[in-house]
């Protein structure tokens, strides 16, 4: 279980997360919606240990990310896909994927590389195994980013607006992969602006507004007039999203 308990995060005087509670159980797909600046990326960065908390607690399968000794174990259980891919530019696709499994999980390189090739094949990138990120399209880069995360065999896959730097065609190719992962039962915490897609694949949807978690509802309920839509902030957000 991934548990976010009463988490507070501030940058200087600005409170960015204000008492956020969230639980993700294995097998669930939970989407996080919210307008720009609401703290979605910050929440993901708190979960993967890139930001220090100012209050509250985050535990991943009982490992507390705030404790240096437990953070390493927590990080082995989650893997992040980033909005801007964050690939290592000096490494080939294969090396990008193999780095963490070999260095962090201490798995044999040959085995890891074989799995990496299979992962790349599964996202249609068999011919890009030895390509450098600079020579890939945005959609291809993000598919590599997803493979890099999956190679860690994470219990929880964290995705932060993984399609927002991509054009519609590339977005579609990446979303197709995520839909397949969701069908296969991958646990995902999914920050997105793709409301329709979130509606298709999520078990639950949470809505962040200025660092406060406004609602946490089963998908159907979130989109019901009596559920999430009853909240003016959410209705406003969804209607704005439709227009874009």
């Amino acid at each position: 279980m991934l548990k976010v308990e009463n988490v507070k995060k501030a940058f200087g005087a600005a409170t960015v997360l204000d008492g956020v509670n969230l639980t993700v159980s294995p097998g669930e797909v939970v989407s996080i919606l919210g307008s720009s600046g609401s703290g979605k990326s910050t929440l993901i960065r708190c979960i993967n240990g890139l930001e220090k908390l100012n209050g509250g607690r985050i535990v991943i399968d009982d490992f507390d990310v705030a404790k240096p000794k437990e953070l390493a174990e927590a990080r082995k259980r989650s893997a992040t896909v980033f909005q801007l891919f964050n690939l290592y530019p000096h490494m080939t696709t294969l090396q990008n994927i193999a780095l963490a499994p070999v260095e962090v999980l201490k798995r044999p390189r040959a085995e890891v590389e074989q799995e990496a090739r299979a992962l790349l094949a599964s996202v249609g990138l068999s011919d890009k195994v030895d390509a450098y990120p600079a020579h890939l399209s945005g959609g291809q880069r993000q598919r590599v980013g997803i493979c890099r995360a999956l190679a860690m065999k994470p219990r929880y896959l964290l995705l932060d607006e993984v399609t927002s730097a991509l054009d519609p065609e590339m977005t579609a190719e990446v979303l197709a992969i995520l839909a397949k992962l969701a069908r296969e039962g991958t646990t995902m915490l999914f920050v997105t602006h793709e409301v329709d897609f979130a509606r298709q694949i999520s078990n639950r949807i949470v809505f962040l507004d200025k660092g406060v978690l406004l609602v946490d509802l089963p998908t159907k309920k979130f989109f019901a007039a009596s559920g999430g839509l009853a909240q003016p902030r959410i209705a406003q957000f969804l209607s704005k999203m439709k227009k874009d």
């Binding site: 993967n48 890139l50 990080r75 290592y88 780095l99 600079a134």
Partner: protein
Amino acid sequence: MRYGDFTTYDLLLLAQGLGVTVGLFLVTSLIGLVIGVLWGVVRFYRIPLLTPLITFIAELLKNSPVLVQLFLVFFGFPAFFHLNVTPVQAAIVTLSANTAAFIYVIAVSAIESVGREQIDAARAFGLSRWQVLRHVIAPQAAAFSIGPLTALLVNQLQVTSLISVIGVMDLAKIGATLNLRTLKPFIVWAVVGLLYYLTAKLIAAAGARYETRLRRFSEFRGL
């Protein structure tokens, strides 16, 4: 044959001088590289006390003439601490320290030029600080720094000629000796200059070759 004529033995002397220059250059560059990079790593880990100390030493070394540093090491320290320092020892210490200071600057800016977002990714995947340095930062920093490093080394080669003033028999000192004997400064200094030039070209060519190899991942292929 008169005393002032060139002899084949002079060629041997020149070769010997070149050998001393190149030898000292290689040794001090290597020591400077190791120390400078080490200082850069200390700064990367933000080790308290040590980091400001290193920055201070590097500032001193960068902002004072090498010749003054050389005199301090060869005349000053031995007088003050009652040490025995040979010209070659003084040359090695001074040139290594000076090279280290400039390599430190290059190392720091190369490390800082690696994108924060990649480091975040590596950390989020559980790589330790050391693993991030070794696998993500170092290869890219090396590629970034090879250009400035080559320029620095070409310059440091020329700087080695200063050690002739404390009596090291390097290429410049051999030139001065030949000049005194033959009284043909044009020929002597032209030949000596050419030898420095060719050695510098060799360093630059090696740097360029290495750079192509290190930067093969780069998007930049010229305009």
